[in-house]
Amino acid sequence: MIVNVDVNGRLRSFDVPPGAFLLDVLREAGYLSIRRGCDTTSCGICTVLLDGKPVPSCSYLAIRAEGRKVTTVEGIPEEAAKLARHFGEEGADQCGYCNPSLALAVYALKQTRPKATDEEIRLWLVGNLCRCSGYQSQLVAIKRYLEERP
């Protein structure tokens, strides 16, 4: 089946088997920033933005993305770099495996709720697991990023 998707502002057309999931289609197409963590929508690693909203691509049928906008971290390099600077300052980045998905989720939060409180940040990101950081340094870094004004 052919599915037409706007990936990071570029119209792409993928020929996919009916049961293909967005994660596999995107990775196959070279968007390697999206990675697999669990396959049961429990970890947040495979997050992409679909029309600006974070969704788990591991379990999202590719053909349901027809005509929609998919954003991977490759599509928001400047925002990712900004967030990375705050992560670097706080020592909030360790293995980095979850960071592209976290950048997307945080970016979506900034669009939706730029003045999010600590509790709102935690709640928004609760589905993005991290086993390295202990979370606290990430919270500080994310707050700094949200406070940054263009």
Binding site: R36, D39, V73, A84, E89, D93, C95, V126, Y135
Partner: protein, 775 residues
């Protein structure tokens, strides 16, 4: 110091955040075969027959491998130095399967669905054998898990496979029984820990291909590239010189990637087919078929006098290594060696135990191995003893704990799998850690408890801990510093950055020694064809062992540069001052840039490169005090962890922010083990039931309310710029500190992890006389 002890941003954080290809599966060769593994549905069985013709006939199936396709070579996947202290009890594939999830057959197909079709087409007949799931009944069980004659130990580790014993050990100092008899108060309890899963965010993966020299090149999620290379060579009888193992970025290890997982399987497929191939574990495979923490039952006996002097410790351990003996002995020994010296003033101490085989998923290395189990038992028991003595837990610890300048006979007696190494604590800031932690957790106000709302109490509990810094006389690391034109450097290290950001802190050490900035150091880790030898990222060794190697190499490079500059400036080296960018002598000045360009392009041309090695003769322990503040619902037993205070003595922090990340990451994994994480096994078959992240629960952002982390001022002379290790120390205290806090809150002592609200509620019911204690 200009670079060391500075909270600099990591070298790779930005590019990783931006999604650059970096992890193993990102580097699979185009058109790679997809590898999958048929896994055993039975806990213990013999394969009577295995039919693969149908699977092989499927279009697109490149190979199907069974135990008949491999030479029968026993080895261990543990990923340790050689000879290993783990029994050689594993075959690439075997006619026996020993746990639900054990490998039966390997398939490779052109794509995922072809490989799955091949799996489905394999017909296996099993003869079911009686399985052993309870570690208490494993020893001497009529069902023997490793009856094969090839299973062997490399040197004496107490290996008795006919009794289902993978390893055993005992030691004593003084006469424990006699001293206990003299004690005013004796506390004896059994503590139980579970098979925690590592849950690194990146599942295990490997891919293989043959390169332009027809060498086998493997990318792998590994903590131990040189061990992987050696083990592949041994197990597949393949020339080691023809194997190259590359560790790209790794998405978390925590010990779970010390042992071999996918590497051997892709190597076998690539050798068999000549084609590139890739294998990524599913999350289910990670849970069922990689490794877990060794579950242990620990019987701890403490004896003390009325004045609060601890006189004797007796520690008996039963450890479950599952189907294979990876790290069986070493993890179990650390339960004593990195725990019992905390109370070094006792008259007698005894440690003994057995590590048994069962038909569970194998256990292996996991951050804080042995120490976290032992610490839970010892530090819980100390608080139980304090309760019996009516003694303040802080006062008791201040009186009895190890201090700077002191030693323990245990250091010399017990190592990891071998004899230990005597050492004196050159740095031990435990008194400060305890005092500062008490302040930060408002011990005076919160201990033992206070009521904060109707049906709600707040309480604080604490524990102290120690770790090591590498394994003395065994862990070796080396580093190469190479000068480039224009005056920047390559730092080549075998040290394995698995997300702990060791590349960054090793570059900081090199930059400090060379008097330069981080931008001038380009780090490469780890590629067995390129980087020098390093045993790998385990045993809290990287900062101390690899860091010392880097310091030596960088220092020598600086001396070499000064010698070269002296020659150019027509003077002697002692007349040259070098600040990292300019050489100054009375005879003239020379920049490093000019010297480098001259050396490469103009005069007396040569490459300057220095390789140095380090192997520690001791393992200076980092120490910490952990304070857990909890709130407990008096009606339901529900617990909120309000704050976790850590005060850590890890010597100099090479990078304070990254060190804080190591501590806090460890703390949260420890909190997970204490409160949430509980592998559930099928009663009939021992299968790991909660083999996904929906049902196996690690802490989320909402459970971690507050972490307070500080470092003691400390300088370890033998460490690079005064550093000790920091990777594991954080994980050790949460089980006991939280258990102690909950006891302080509601008077319920939970001795079996995890500490669930239900267990607390049950304890409260029993205390209130509303329920009988169950056996």
């Amino acid at each position: 110091m200009n670079v060391v002890n500075k909270p600099l941003a990591s070298l790779d954080g930005k590019a990783l955040m931006m999604g650059r290809p970096a992890y193993t599966d990102d580097f699979a060769a185009p058109q790679s075969l997809v590898v999958k593994v048929l896994r055993s549905p039975h806990p213990f069985a013999r394969i009577v027959s295995i039919e693969t013709d149908e699977a092989r006939a499927i279009k697109g199936v490149a190979c199907v491998l069974t135990h008949k396709d491999f030479k029968r070579i026993s080895f261990t996947r543990a990923g340790q130095g050689y000879p290993e202290p783990s029994p050689h009890d594993k075959f690439v594939l075997d006619e026996y399967v020993r746990y639900v999830g054990d490998e039966v057959a390997i398939v490779a197909g052109v794509d995922s669905s072809t490989a799955e079709a091949a799996l489905a087409a394999i017909k296996v007949k099993y003869e079911l054998l009686t399985h052993v799931l309870d570690m208490e009944t494993a020893v001497g069980n009529p069902s023997v898990i490793h009856p094969e004659p090839e299973a062997r130990e490399m040197f004496p580790i107490g290996f008795e496979p006919k009794k289902n014993i993978a390893a055993a050990y005992k030691m004593n100092v003084g006469d424990v029984d006699a001293v206990l008899k003299k004690c005013d108060v004796v506390v004896k309890q059994t503590y139980r820990t579970t098979a925690q899963a590592h849950v690194a965010m990146e599942p295990h993966a490997a891919n293989a291909r043959f390169d332009h020299q027809n060498r086998l090149v493997i990318y792998a999620t590994t903590q131990t590239p040189v061990h992987v290379r050696r083990i592949i060579s041994q197990a597949l009888a393949y020339p080691i010189a023809n194997i190259r193992v590359i560790k790209p970025r790794v998405g978390g290890g925590f010990g779970g990637k010390q042992a071999i997982a996918a590497e051997l399987i892709v190597a076998a497929v690539a050798i068999r087919t000549g084609l590139p191939c890739r294998y990524a574990f599913t999350r289910k495979e990670v849970f069922e078929s990689s490794y877990s923490r060794h579950p242990m039952n620990i019987e701890m006996t403490l004896g003390a006098m009325k004045d609060g002097t601890l006189k004797a410790i007796d520690c008996k351990v039963l450890s479950d290594t599952g189907a294979y003996g990876e790290h069986a002995l070493t993890v179990f020994m650390v339960t004593g060696s990195k725990v019992l010296p905390l109370y070094n003033k006792v008259e007698a101490v005894r440690f003994a135990g057995t590590v048994v085989y069962t038909n569970h998923t194998p256990a292996g290395a996991y951050r804080g191995y042995g120490a976290i189990q032992g610490n839970f038992a010892l530090e819980s028991a100390v608080d139980e003893l304090c309760a019996a003595l009516k003694c303040d837990p802080l006062a008791f610890r201040r009186k009895n704990m190890i201090r700077e300048g002191e030693t323990s006979p245990i250091f010399a007696i017990m190592g990891e799998g071998t004899e230990g190494t005597a050492m004196t604590m050159e740095t031990c800031k435990l008194p400060f850690c305890v005092d500062r932690g008490a302040d930060l957790s408002d011990w005076a106000h919160n201990h033992p408890r206070r009521i904060v709302a109707k049906n709600r109490v707040r309480a604080v509990g604490m524990a102290i801990a120690m770790q090591g810094s590498g394994i003395p006389l065994i862990d070796m690391a080396s580093a190469t510093v190479k000068l480039n034109d224009d005056g920047f450097y390559n730092l080549l290290v075998g040290a394995t950055d698995i997300g702990q950001k060791s590349d960054t802190i090793l570059a900081q050490i090199a930059a400090e020694a060379l008097g330069t900035t981080l931008e001038k150091i380009v780090v490469t880790s780890s590629d067995t064809d390129v980087t020098p030898f390093d045993t790998g990222a385990y045993a809290s060794s990287t900062t101390y062992v690899s860091g010392n190697a880097v310091l030596k190499a960088a220092t020598k490079m600086k001396e070499t540069l000064v010698a070269e500059a002296a020659q150019v400036l027509g003077t002697t080296r002692d007349q040259v001052a070098f600040d990292g960018s300019t050489f100054v002598a009375e005879t003239g000045r020379l920049t490093l840039k000019d010297l480098s360009n001259r050396l490469f392009y103009n005069h007396d041309q040569k490459q300057l490169s220095v390789t140095e090695s380090f192997c520690g003769h001791k393992s200076p322990p980092p120490f910490m005090a952990g304070f857990a503040t909890v709130e407990v619902d008096l009606e339901t037993g529900e617990v909120d962890l309000v704050d976790y205070v850590s005060v850590v003595d890890c010597g100099t922090t090479i990078n304070p922010k990254l060190a804080q990340g190591q501590v806090e990451g460890g703390i949260v994994q420890g909190i997970g083990m204490t409160l949430f994480e509980e592998p559930v096994y099928g009663k009939a078959d021992g299968k790991t039931v909660n083999s996904d992240l929906l049902s196996y629960k690690i802490p989320t952002r909402l459970e971690i309310r507050k972490l307070t982390t500080e470092f003691a001022i400390s300088y370890e002379e033998s460490g690079p710029y005064g550093a000790k290790s920091v990777a594991e120390i954080g994980i050790d205290t949460p089980p006991a500190a939280i258990a102690n806090a909950i006891y302080n809150a509601v008077g319920v002592r939970v001795r079996t992890l995890p500490i669930t609200p239900e267990k607390i509620w049950r304890g409260m019911q029993i205390r209130a006389g509303k329920m009988e204690e169950s056996k």
